[in-house]
């Protein structure tokens, strides 16, 4: 039971991360390597600049129903800003150029945080009530894990409803499949791309919130480890395919947790090697990803 919840909650993080990357890739064919730094940034947005080991949370007094929108807005805002300031100028550039630009942007964000906060991890107490365990079918599960999983499922349903039921969602799906054709039907390119960036940034912020609450520390590298797995999930899922990204995210989470428990003790430190090994196997047999996305050839 504990293993199942571990797998689902880790998978949730990967799935949310992969979704954020896939959304932007879908409309722009941009592999956004700055995504991990958006995660860190949105949580550091809560803090006063300082180099102390204990974070000074200026927004920490906020009740949860204000705190969460604040963090999400932080992520969405930074993400949209990066589109307006940086990526918009690369619309007609080739994907490799855009990828390098996103790398550079990621470093700019990371060093900006380094300047204000130093590289020391800081302890932070966000939503402390959530670390209480709850009992589910005889197993003691941290409440936070349950909420993480529930929130992820809620986000997935909300996102699906948004994409399927709203006119903006329809425009985004059309644009993801064939951007030029969508524009020839009057779909506004900038609005759709900014919408994708805002959603993606909000997803990144959700990850930041969960990570900070889970570990009780924040540091400017915190986004990086989740992001690596999330990238892999987007690729395994089939670049640009949203269901694929979610599925692969959960699979990767499950694979990590399962290997942690079934591998012989001596092999456990090398767990990631086994996970990545499995990734290579998947890619050998399904190079197009688990669920291949349509129309990945077209770009703005």
């Amino acid at each position: 039971m504990q293993t199942l919840f571990d797998a689902l909650s880790l998978g949730s993080l990967y799935a949310l991360g992969a979704l954020g990357i896939a959304l932007i890739f879908g409309v722009m064919r941009l592999v956004n390597f700055a995504h991990g730094d958006v995660i860190s940034f949105s949580i550091f947005g809560l803090l006063w600049p300082s180099v102390d080991a204990v974070a000074i949370v200026f927004a920490g007094e906020l009740p949860w129903f204000l705190l969460i929108p604040f963090v999400l807005a932080m992520g969405a805002g930074l993400s949209v800003l990066s589109e307006i300031i940086v990526f918009r100028r690369f619309r007609r550039a080739n994907p490799a150029t855009m990828m390098i630009a996103s790398f550079a942007l990621g470093f700019v964000i990371r060093y900006f945080l380094l300047m204000l906060f130093s590289s020391r991890p800081k302890s932070i107490s966000l939503l402390p009530a959530l670390s209480q365990p709850v009992e589910i079918l005889g197993a003691r599960i941290p409440l936070l894990q349950v909420i993480t999983i529930a929130a992820t499922i809620a986000i997935l349903f909300a996102l699906t409803a948004f994409l399927k039921r709203t006119r903006f969602g329809l425009e985004m799906r059309a644009a993801a499949e064939n951007f030029t054709m969508a524009r020839m039907l009057g779909v506004r390119a900038n609005r759709v791309i900014m919408g994708a960036f805002a959603l993606s940034g909000a997803l990144a912020a959700a990850i930041g919130l969960i990570l900070a609450a889970q570990t009780g520390t924040v540091d400017i590298q915190m986004g990086a480890s989740v992001m690596l797995m999330a990238f892999i999930a987007t690729v395994i899922g089939g670049l640009g395919s949203l269901p694929g990204a979610v599925l692969a995210g959960f699979l990767l989470g499950a694979a990590s947790v399962v290997m942690q428990t079934v591998l012989p003790i001596d092999a456990r430190p090398f767990r990631d090697a086994f996970v990545y090994g499995a990734v290579i196997l998947v890619l050998i047999f399904r190079p197009q990803g688990l669920i291949a996305a349509r129309g990945t050839k077209e770009r703005v």
Partner: protein, 244 residues
Amino acid sequence: MSLLALSNLTIRYGRLSAVRNVTFTLTEGEILFITGPNGAGKSSLLRAIAGVTPPAGGRIDFAGQDITGRAPEDIARMGLSMVPEGREVFGSLTIEENLLVGTGIHAATRNWRSRAATELEAVYATFPILKDRRHSQAGLLSGGQQQMLVIGRALMTNPRLIAIDEPSLGLAPNITDQVYERLIALRSHRALTLLIVEQSSTRAQLVGGRMILMRGGEILLDGDARAMGQSEAMQAAYFGYGEH
């Protein structure tokens, strides 16, 4: 009144020029075929008009406004709808969703929802087959049905001019007949202006109307399709003898 006017339009891909100094005007309600062999620059011309490929020189006016270099979505919103070569349906979307993509154009106006529903019914009345299959994936349709879908999709934006690139491509002749039948009917009861690109001139001569014959990026002939018949210049354009 002239709806679309091109003057000295030049399109280049790198150092290669695809279209050179093309000038013509299209009157409201007119039907114009642009024909010519492969590589004549027909598709490039349409892509420039739709704002997809910015021209290297010259000017395009639509409905009295200069649209040279404007974004495709702005041009679509002004009432110039493009049906590109190869149809380009959104294969993962349902038929109805395909049709609705373009209705965002009316989103600013009040009651766009009911307006979109009215447009939808009108398109379904023209193409009943689309209504029957409205919830199936557009990628599963046959070529002829896809062609009807993309024409319907263009109509949903309520355009003044529809530009269609090779509607007969890959279709059986009797299906092509059906597509043209609907187009001609639409033109008369919606006061549509049509700009149709076809490789062969036979369809233009069958339907009638004006025809521009292009070759090597330039206009060779411009006149009544039927009168042009099998003139010497036409033979020259397709088979390559003559001065070119």
